[in-house]
Amino acid sequence: MKKLLALLLCLVMVIPFAGCSEEDEGFKVGFIFLHDENSTYDKNFIDAAKAATKALGLKDSQVVFKVNIPEDNACYEAAAELVDDGCDLIFADSFGHEDFMIKAAKEFKDVIFCHATGTKAHTENLPNYFNAFATIYEGRFLAGVAAGLKINDMIANGDAAEAKMGYVGAHPYAEVISGLSSFYLGAKYVCPDVTMSVKYTNSWFDITAENEAANALIKEGCVLISQHADSEGAPKACEAAGVPNVAYNLDTREWGPSTALVSSKINWQPYFEHIIDAAMNDKEITQDYCGTLENDGVQILGLNEDVAAPGTAEKLEEVKAQLIAGEIKVFDTTTFTVGGKTITEYEADVDSDPDYTGDTQVVADGYFHESEYRSAPYFDLKIDGITFPKEN
């Protein structure tokens, strides 16, 4: 009994000292992630954050990662704890974090808050709250070109009867619709007869639902699958069925060595370097930053020569150069119709409001100006050739 008491006393004495070890002073950046590296979406951010902080010479003690932070008050508390920890710059990666980041930004005015995929920086107009996204529709368009070439090749070889693609989407809102439409238009650019069928999982990360959706699309007769969801569900379903797969944010050749075709991703490293550099050196941060093909914010990766049609790499280089030069517009209104009609004007919901009313004219000069009035996508037209699930 006495020994126990002694042990207990020792513990009690050690604990207060243990709690007092303060980290060294200096610049500190905190990252809030919805999931951990098991999600392709978050892994893309985590990898970029590690690369950017390393490139800028930050020590591990100057970089704090908080993972598995849900999209509720927990995000605000995580941000507040990071402020207490001495962070000068705090970043969050998921759409649903936005309201809670804004709440924190209003409270902690001398800390900079950056949020990816959000829409409210340009309407809230806070001096310390910033959004970022990328023209990922350009990357998806390029991935679509690779998909279209592959389908042409499959039809020529007799491996496919019909040019029909399938798409597994997470949630039916602008970010996903913009992505799937640009992917479809890329395929259509080289394979004019292509059609596409879409299924939603209503979740960003649901291995089973994504797997089932991909299998259902394959059963429907889709000869190529792409997805905008964050798990290995769809790529693995494609590998099992031997159907080519176009991925997002990650080189998925590991999951589908014989079916992973190509992937497009947002490269967050330039953005992270921009905000960290700005925060460290009191420079201005772009209120609504947009990564592009040109500034390396959008990338094509993991082109699988074993799967891709011959000449894909060259074609992608060519189209990429034309996109950067502005010779090709992804949402060129002469290349698609909506309900059989060519679009000449469209008011998009650029400024978020509860009724989703359109507020900004985004069609001009013969194309839909995506990601120009705010970085987060607002293209939500349902173009002909794509079969969407029935509205709920």
Partner: protein, 375 residues
Amino acid sequence: MHSKDTNAKNITTQINEPLFHVTKRAQISWQKSWAIRIIAIASSLVICALIIVLITGLNPLTVYSAIFDGSFSSERKIWNLLRELSMLLCVSLAVTPAFKMKFWNIGAEGQGLVGALASAACMIYLGDKLPNSNLLLVMLLSSLAAGALWGFIPAYFKAKFNTNETLFTLMMNYIAIQLVAYFVLLWENPKGSSIVGIINSSTGAGYLPVIGGKQYLLPILIVALVTGVMYIYLRYTKQGYEISVVGESQNTAKYVGINVKKVIIRTMIISGALCGLAGFLFVSGIDYTINANLIGGLGFTAIMVSWLAKFNPVYMIMSSFLIVFLDRGASEIATDFRLNESIADALTGIILFFIIGSEFFIQYQLKFRKRGNNK
């Protein structure tokens, strides 16, 4: 199960006495029971230290100090600890009467969710129609009613048709989750995003008043009050006694004239309503939003809290503290050392395993073969 020292020599020549046997303790002093618990915690820390060193190569002492930091290194963390503790305690208090009655209510998650849903609905539809005090009252009552209904349904079927309440309450969770998912689609902003965002962020309608600048103080006080009331209810009231009797033996309860069906239904209404209260506190005092993960698994963790405390509301303060403390420590480890949260959760699991295991040694005693008996 017992040894006879008188014949020990004779017996051991014929049969091999086992190394030890297990006997139930008649009673145990509180000092001894706490000593056993402390030994359990200390040994779990040693095992965890081994795992930390073997897998991560970190110094276990710095890891343990990080666990402590997770709850106590700043005023905000202490408030967060208290908030999480009180919400876990609230749900644990809610399931306790049902468990004490041996009604396995594993539907606290769903009962809490429908409570949260009711509050969120009031905030959205009545936010600009009622003054805040009335609105809060309507929210509270509708949350209590929604939770009570979610508790009443399985209780009614149990009382009437003797259905299996474990499966029934579990199924009710999924219905609640789908119901919330449906309403999230209805209220989402922007369309298609499945995100409701902060409700009434510009007006603050339906938000619990903030006392002394501390957002969580009022929810914490409310749970403290509920703890006291529940303690008295279970211990000193006739209804509390009836719950104990029904839990011990339904037949005994019948013979002494207790209406068992009525007790089951009444208790589950109370249990569900308290879960609804937790939902109300989440929406009006903490998160100001609604989603299917809002209760965050507390409905299941609460079962452990309640059992660990042997259904005593005061001990439940300690068991919920322990679980919240370990949980916050786990995410602090994950953050501080850039470990995957899974390893931190594994450590928490080991500590809990030892603590639950220690209850065995408090209830039972190992009697070792006396030295010399075998000679």
